[in-house]
């Protein structure tokens, strides 16, 4: 069975037959997982037995819950489609060119959208994806795709952070902060308890060297993780993305009136609620759709360029000639009749909910 993920155009990697999609470089993700697992493993092996005996058996239980939630969240963030927009099909490109009555090339063009709230948005044309980027969409050069609500490309997670995995990223930061603090605090408690018994801190450290290693790792991680978590909490309350914050999109003082963020719901709590508990669309890529071979769907960039060249060459001019050329290019790409369409509908898998990445 040939599925759509096999024809993906971005630089993402796809695993589990279309169920998981990550960025191109997952080396740092593996390093992050390794670090988290090693630190937690050392904690469970060296600190927990002593602490369970001296204090309470609930300590390793909470640590285990935290560790599992960190792993769950990081894997969920890494393997979820961040909101990759599928590239425009050749027919769409031809239609856009046709609507572009000025006969100027689409690259560099800007579509102006007047919002109900009074804001004016400028949608730029993406040369790679061949579409006008919707609001808040940005093109990630590492993944080579336009991502909805693009926040940033996180190397630690090996994926872009966008519309569909932002909340998992946020909960990953949250649970990792708590885990770091938890391990650090109980490392200190462990050393302190041993020092009380043996009366010197140095002796206590000599007895459990692993505790010091963990404490050091946690100490250095805490600042960055908690810092990042607080930064994202601030961003969520203002309902802006990292990308918009860096570019200062909603706060330019060049204009006379302050451009307020049109996507903010006005209230910090509502913004949090909307971002973290709001509705989540399914993946736009439909990676697990079965592809009919007659569909002729694998469009390589080469063919798209060909069709575009044909359009620009013969678009203007006499009716007869241009009609013929346009017909040739569209026939070679996606010939569709109603009968074919209906056949495809019967064979194509529609959205199977458990399959969504």
């Amino acid at each position: 069975m040939v599925r759509k993920w096999q024809f993906i155009e971005s630089k993402n990697r796809v695993y589990c037959n279309g169920r998981c999609i990550t960025g191109q470089n997952i080396g740092i993700l593996i390093l992050a997982l390794f670090l988290i697992t090693i630190t937690s493993g050392l904690f469970f092996a060296f600190d927990c037995p002593y602490l369970t005996k001296e204090l309470s058996p609930t300590i390793p239980v909470f640590a285990a819950i935290l560790f599992l939630s960190v792993i769950c969240c990081i894997l969920r963030t890494a393997c979820t489609d961040p909101g990759i927009l599928p590239r425009a099909t050749p027919d769409e490109i031809l239609y856009l060119e046709k609507e572009n009555s000025q006969n100027i090339t689409l690259a560099g063009q800007v579509m102006v959208v007047q919002m109900r709230s009074g804001h004016t948005l400028q949608l730029k044309y993406c040369q790679t994806c061949k579409l006008f980027r919707p609001p808040r969409v940005s093109h990630c050069s590492l993944c080579n795709a336009c991502i909805a609500n693009f926040d940033h490309h996180c190397p630690w997670v090996g994926n872009c952070i966008g519309l569909r995995n932002y909340r998992y990223f946020y909960f990953f930061l949250f649970s990792l902060s708590i885990l770091c603090v938890y391990i650090f605090v109980f490392n200190i408690v462990h050393i302190a308890l041993r020092a009380q018994k043996n009366s010197t801190v140095a002796d206590a450290i000599r007895e459990t060297p692993a505790t010091m290693i963990e404490a050091l790792i946690c100490f250095f991680s805490i600042w960055s993780v908690i810092g990042l978590w607080s930064y994202h909490t601030y961003l969520i309350c203002r309902s802006i993305t990292t990308n918009e914050d860096i570019k200062d999109t909603w706060n330019t003082s060049d204009h006379e009136e302050n451009i307020k963020n049109p996507f903010s719901r006005g209230n910090g709590w509502l913004n949090c609620f909307g971002t973290l508990c709001g509705p989540l669309p399914p993946s736009f890529l439909n990676l697990r759709t079965i592809v009919q071979q007659e569909n002729n769907i694998p469009m390589t960039t080469m063919r798209m360029n060909d069709s575009l060249q044909e359009t620009t060459k013969y678009h203007t001019g006499e009716n007869g000639i241009s009609n013929n050329r346009v017909r040739d290019s569209s026939v070679s790409n996606l010939p569709r009749s109603f009968q074919q369409q209906q056949q495809q509908q019967q064979h194509q898998e529609r959205y199977l909910p458990p399959d969504y990445a």
Binding site: C277, P282, N286, N323, S330, F338
Partner: protein
């Protein structure tokens, strides 16, 4: 309308109804009647179909208590609940797809029009195919 603007092959003309971003990034399609459909179908009927599709997606994107409860529960189960049942959004998308199927069969196909489910295009646009056979 100039003949050069028709994307013709032997079978169909394709036109695309784009997204309407005037109210934000929520999924909403432009409720406009494309000129190519003039004479094939009643203007109001077509716009009504687009309005109904927009209503399904507005329901999907609404911030309601149902969405809140659903997301809280999925969060508490470590997002494992997502493997077991479809989300409210996915159900709405399915309903929209079913509605489009019904309208295709009952109203659009007899006029030589075929509307493609926007989910197949990644919710970027609604593709409408018009056959030449009925011209």
């Amino acid at each position: 309308m100039e003949d050069t603007t028709r994307l013709t092959n032997d079978h169909s003309i394709k036109l695309f109804i784009q997204r309407d971003y005037s109210e934000g990034t929520a999924v909403k399609f432009q409720e406009r009647f494309p000129a190519e459909l003039e004479g094939r179908i009643d203007r109001q009927e077509f716009i009504e179909i687009l309005r109904d599709i927009n209503r399904f997606f507005a329901d999907a994107e609404a911030l309601s208590c149902t969405t809140f409860m659903e997301n809280c529960c999925t969060c508490l189960t470590g997002y494992l609940l997502l493997l077991c049942m479809p989300t409210h959004y996915e159900k709405c998308v399915k309903r929209a797809a079913k509605y489009i199927d019904e309208k295709n069969e009952s109203v659009l196909n007899p006029h030589g029009i075929f509307m493609v489910d926007p989910m197949e295009k990644g919710l970027r646009c609604i593709e409408v195919c018009i056959t030449n056979a009925h011209r």
